[in-house]
């Protein structure tokens, strides 16, 4: 009988320790916005920028979409979690300039749960954009 009670107390104690241990864990998720690279590319059509933007966004995130049709403004998000929510998103803007175009990368994450910073995400996007550019030459 005494052993049973001791076991019960131990089990309840473990349960409450787990529950309130979790409760005491500080929430540290924060919105992080990065103003990424701005590049001027000469001698290329803005349609090339659009192609590279879409490819880069789909390589790093998913579901790249040109907002409003033929605008040169692209957006994509990280894969959603089990609740359907995405913890990162990015925008790539293409605009004709000089004999080519100007392209910008802007990123937003909530970390955690997203594993990278907004700045890190933008760097990956810019790298992916350049990789596509290299591959096309």
């Amino acid at each position: 009988m005494i052993r049973t009670w001791c076991t019960r107390v131990a089990l309840f104690g473990a349960a409450f320790a787990l529950v309130f241990g979790v409760l005491a864990t500080p929430a540290s998720a924060a919105l992080d916005l990065a103003v990424g690279t701005k590049k001027v590319v000469k001698g290329e059509a803005v349609s090339n920028c659009n192609d590279k933007a879409k490819t880069a966004l789909n390589a790093v995130l998913e579901n790249a979409l040109e907002v409003g049709g033929d605008t040169g403004e692209w957006r994509a998000s990280a894969p959603p979690d089990s609740s359907g929510n995405s913890s990162a998103a990015a925008a790539v803007h293409c605009y004709p300039a000089d004999t080519g175009y100007v392209v910008t990368f802007t990123c937003a994450v909530q970390a955690p749960p997203y594993s990278d910073s907004a700045s890190g995400l933008c760097t990956k996007l810019a790298t992916a954009f350049d990789s596509k550019a290299t591959a096309q030459r």
Partner: protein, 222 residues
Amino acid sequence: MKRIHSSAVFAVALCGGLLASIAPVSAAVDLSVGIRHVSDDGTLQDCGSKARASLDAFLQNASEPTPGSGDWSAYSRNGPDGTPTAAAAVRCYALPKGYVVTFTCAIVSPASPYTSDALCLNIAHKFYGGAITSLAPIPTPSPIPTGCATNSLVGTWGSDDKPGFTFKMELNGDLTDSDGVSGNWILKGNTAVLTYYGEHSMTLSADGKHLHGGGYSLTRKC
């Protein structure tokens, strides 16, 4: 043996139920993209001035991380979790005549009381003219952080290098030094950004008591 099993099942059920009820609600980053404005006149500096004013109208501490770049960003005041719930970037690029400017906004849902589209539309309209809609106020952190909370800088901080010199940091992100000079603070994870005679990036210690970096060393009174 049967009693032990019953106890175990009950404890596990209790634990699971409580965990399920307190599990943090999954948050989503909502990004608004697509507002672009072309001005046939004006300089990059003109665009930058407007960008700063437009951002500061709805967010706080608009800054140009790389001076002269024409890229401006700002964050909202702190929300229920003690961190900003919204942010925006206004990016200017000089054209042979005039400039082009883009507006990108992000909010965390459900913590933000407004959408990223609503925020971006207001910032853009403030920039080039248009209807401004009322944005709901950002809820205050709950419970209000006290002591040496690691998710907030709220409290009184003393300078380690200048005895008697203090900073009072408010819940809404305002700060005031003991001479009455004001500024702002933002905390992202353990990285704090103080806007006070420029922008200072600092690191909050694991115990929430010390801030170091950016030319300052502070200790919280807690």
